[in-house]
């Protein structure tokens, strides 16, 4: 009990003293560095900021105000104040003590305006403080800013603030500490240990921390200085062309420049004497040999610098060694970093392949969606419908129009899907009744007539909706992406499209194999005369089948509209690829369409992988591949079989 009282008394005594001492400290610091605070420079302000930060809470408040440009000098007495805007005027606080000084007009205070470099220093110092802030949000912010903009000084700050009540944050701090150790620790052994501690970690941050260690410069030395951390000695003509090597020497001022045609020309132009140069008339100088003669003549006269001859170039190249040199002086560190990077690259390669496969899968689903309606109309019925793309477009616009009336994205999507089916089903039935019916067995004429419909529908869409893209916004739950790690991720909307493609596949199989309609469709396509004699009306079946294919196109349009821009050209962007999908897969077989979509999707992504910058080239090569593929399998991947085919 006594002890407790004693402690209490001690605390009561010490605390105010300590607090006073601190404020006194801050005031002292402020007065000591007053000039630097008023006119800070990025190079020298660091220690000042650190000292202010070390004074505690009021120091932190001062730094924060400084950083936010709220620090000023009261004009009446030159006191350093924190001036927070309040109404029309300012609320003043003594920067050194935190004492409230009441309000003042803006004109009473001269605001300090630290530049961004200085503010960077201030915020880094604050981050060190914030790492131990009781508010976890501020700790997270501080960690974020530290991992974006790290330097050696922060390693110490971070190490002081490693304890964290939140285990997740503690882990983050731990990781960041290891990463900063790799880059900034003064002990190479600690750095190597940190590098090896990561194993084959594939995080972007880890790779980013290795990259500066492995940064290289290309240099030329006569004698290699000791302590140079050599990445590679370059062989002339192999790793480095002789021209580039000599250009390096010239650029570093180690050898005289070779005479370029431009330089020769300029030199000759300076030495024109009475219509000739070095005795060669100007008119003849439209010829390289004549220019060489003129230049040699000038050299002989001693009026121009002799240009580096080939022998001199050879000699210079032989004298120097050309190296790639690490900026990092310690070879053990670079070796460890290189080994670590290599092992992560293997893993990253595998993950990129996985990511690419996901991309390809989603592209394949898109093609499948766009083509499945065609698989019905073209594949099953043999009717080629060039307006199929415009049905996709109609579906997308239906989705857009529904969103104009129903604000809730989810509900509007639920309404739009069946509505798009109804709209395009009706359009398909109309097209079949009015045009296609009269052109059965005339596929080329059908192609051209439906093309007429296609351009009419496209222009109609332009007239109604205008030429600019219309938004079809997906519901919030489809935003974002499913992220596996830094490399592998897939957006939810693509997953949804993949699922939709699967649903359609199931639906198609169900309709064709399990329903009366499917049975009749198969009967009519295999033998219309026989089907008719059994009481199936081919007319009705053709109409319904065509409507079905068109309706599916409409639903696909809503799906495609969710991630592509809805314009009148939406359909024509997909039509050629859709036909390719069906043709490559094999007409009349849904599995063929699936295989075709997969082939085209994976192929396109695969080609893009080899040449990522150029999607145009990828499409070109893909189409070329398809043209050649058709040569060898004219009936597609999954060919329809039987005697009837050959006939």
């Amino acid at each position: 009990m006594r002890l407790f009282l004693l402690v209490l008394a001690f605390v009561a005594l010490v605390l105010p003293i300590h607090a006073r001492a601190q404020t006194a400290d801050l005031a002292a610091v402020v007065s000591q560095y007053r000039d630097q605070i008023e006119k800070p420079s990025r190079q020298s302000i660091g220690p000042v900021v650190d000292e202010i930060a070390a004074t505690g809470a009021q120091g932190a408040a001062l730094l924060q105000a400084w950083n936010e440009r709220l620090l000023g000098l009261r004009k009446s007495d030159g006191l350093l104040v924190i001036a927070a805007p309040e109404g029309d005027g300012l609320k003043l606080t003594d920067a050194a003590t935190g004492a409230d000084l009441g309000s003042a007009a803006e004109a009473d205070v001269t605001m300090l305006r630290p530049n961004s470099g200085v503010r960077g220093v201030i915020s880094a110092a604050m981050a060190g403080n914030a790492l131990s802030d009781p508010d976890p949000k501020r700790r997270i912010e501080a960690l974020d800013s530290m991992s974006r903009r790290a330097d050696a000084s922060q390693l110490a700050l971070l190490r002081e603030a490693m304890d964290d009540p939140d285990p997740a944050l503690a882990a983050r701090k731990q990781r960041l500490e290891r990463m900063l150790t790799i880059q900034y620790d003064s002990d190479p052994a600690a750095r190597i240990a940190a590098i090896e501690g990561f194993g084959g970690d594939s995080g972007l941050d880890f790779r980013a921390s290795l990259n500066p260690i492995l940064a290289m410069r290309r240099v030329a030395f006569e004698e290699i200085p000791s302590g140079t951390n050599i990445a590679k000695e370059l062989s002339l003509g192999g790793d480095l062309s002789r021209e580039d090597a000599y250009a390096m020497l010239v650029a570093e001022g180690l050898a005289p420049a070779r005479l370029t045609p431009q330089a020769m020309r300029a030199t000759l132009a300076q030495h024109i004497v009475q219509g000739s140069v070095g005795g060669v008339p100007l008119a003849q100088l439209a010829d390289q040999d004549a220019r060489d003669r003129a230049y040699t003549a000038l050299e002989a006269q001693g009026t121009v610098q002799p240009a580096a001859s080939d022998d001199e170039v050879e000699a210079a190249l032989a004298r120097y060694k050309f190296l790639d040199v690490y900026a990092e002086p310690n070879p053990d560190v670079t070796t460890a970093a290189r080994a670590a990077l290599r092992s992560t690259e293997t893993r990253i390669g595998l993950m990129q392949a996985a990511d690419l496969s996901l991309d390809a899968l989603s592209l394949a689903s898109i093609y499948f969606l766009a083509a499945i309606g065609l698989a019905v109309t073209f594949g099953v019925m043999g009717v080629i419908n060039m307006a199929h793309g415009e049905f996709i477009m109609m579906g997308a616009y239906t989705g857009y129009v529904v969103q104009q009336f129903i604000a809730d994205r989810t509900v509007s999507l639920i309404v739009a899907l069946p509505l798009a089916f109804v709209v395009t089903f009706a359009a398909g039935v109309a097209l079949e009744r009015l045009v296609i019916r009269h052109l059965y067995k005339r596929p080329l004429e059908t192609l051209l007539a439906t093309f007429g419909v296609s351009i009419a529908l496209q222009q109609l869409a332009k007239n109604i909706f205008g030429t600019q893209a219309r938004p079809l916004t997906s519901p919030a739950w489809l935003d974002g992406a499913l992220t596996f790690n830094d490399v592998v991720s897939i957006s939810y909307i693509r997953i949804a499209i993949f699922v939709l493609a699967l649903v359609f596949l199931g639906l198609y199989l169900f309709i064709m194999n399990r329903t009366r309609l499917g049975l009749e469709v198969r009967a009519v396509t295999q033998n219309p005369a026989m089907a008719a004699s059994m009481g199936i009306s081919p007319d009705r079946i053709n109409m319904l089948t065509f409507g079905l294919g068109s309706g599916i196109a409409g639903i696909a349009g809503v799906a495609i509209g969710l991630f592509a821009k809805v314009t009148s050209e939406l359909g024509s962007d997909y039509i050629v690829q859709s036909f390719m999908t069906v043709v490559v897969g094999g007409v009349g077989n849904i599995w063929g369409t699936l295989a075709g979509a997969a082939l085209i999707g994976f192929l396109q992504k695969g080609i893009e992988w080899f040449n990522p910058a150029n999607t145009l080239a990828a499409q070109t090569y893909m189409i070329l591949f398809i043209i050649i593929f058709i040569q060898f399998r004219p009936r597609g991947i999954i060919a329809a079989k039987g005697r009837a085919v050959g006939a």
Partner: protein, 410 residues
Amino acid sequence: MRKPLVLRHPSILVFLGVLAVFTVAVTVLSAGYGTGAISTSMVKTLGKTLCLALAAVAMDLVWGYAGILSLGQMAFFALGGYMIGMWLMVARTEGIVAGSLANLPIPPTDAEISAAVATQIFGVVGSDKFPMIWAFSGSLWGQLALVVLVPGLLALVFGWLAFRSRVNGVYLSILTQAMTLALALYLFQNDSGLRGNNGLSGLQNIPGLDAVSQEKLSIWFLWASAVTLGLGYLLIAWVASGKFGSVTRAIRDDEARVRFLGYSVEGYKLVVFVLAAVVTAIAGALYYPQAGIINPAELAPIASIYLAVWVAIGGRGRLYGAAIGAIFVSMLSSWFTGGRAPDVNLGFYTIKWVDWWQVLLGLSFVLVTLLAPKGIAGLVDLFEGLRPPKRQGQPMGPDMGSLREKEAVE
């Protein structure tokens, strides 16, 4: 013993006569050589239209006679334009560059001129060197040979691959469409060597003819186009008549039967396809100097489909029909889309033809296909009292490209 071609087929004589009268009339009314009633831009449009008509005649040989609905003809047309455009661009830039370099104290070497020309031409795609494919661009004769060789070779390789594996009908159409799409996408790339989507421009300035005004030049090109159309028409009419034409039409209607007669169907298709490609390319080589600019958009699949549409509206299977269709539809098109057609006020809505012409074209095309497969040329039959055969809707043969009942005459 036999009457000459033009007497056996009087339509050829009529066509050539009309073409001659048209060309002379335009010349007399032109600004360059006559009264000036027809503007120079109109003369250019007419000249271009004649080139399109030639492309349509070639298309008719492929589709109307051989039954191959090629949806890639404009690829050959544009390739022809690109080949001549390369020379035009290099020769003209050379003139300009040489002019500006001549002011320097030291006269330029050939290498310097060439480097400056390359920088001038390929600066837009970030290059300063001539790509390999420009090897002959300095020579007019070299590029003229390429006008024929490049599209001819493309048609030969593509046709050989496609016909050999007996791809036909709709598949062949889609394949040709894919070909032109692939080519267009390739040319859109900046490193394709043909200036990416910038294309070639300034083609209306003919090197060496700077002294000739555009008014006169347009008439020269009109005459060149007319003469080429006339010669091309004669050539194709000659091919399509006689036994070769007979075999070609037989292939259109029933190619399996032709095989059993001992004719190599693939060989015939290939000859027709390559010939049409070459003629189309020549038409293109005359078209683009009048248009002044060419870019990869000219190869878009839709352009080739339009060519098929013109042939269909004019009436396929007769060369004059194809020419009429191309001239009629493309002139009408430019009239409607050029804003010259008067708007129609319906009270509640004003029909602006700029917006509605495509709809009208699309629908009228459907109607022609459905109701009047003979197209405009059907009017000639009506006039001559020729009727289609009565076949209860049966076409003239089992193949996809065969003549329909309504297309044939008794």
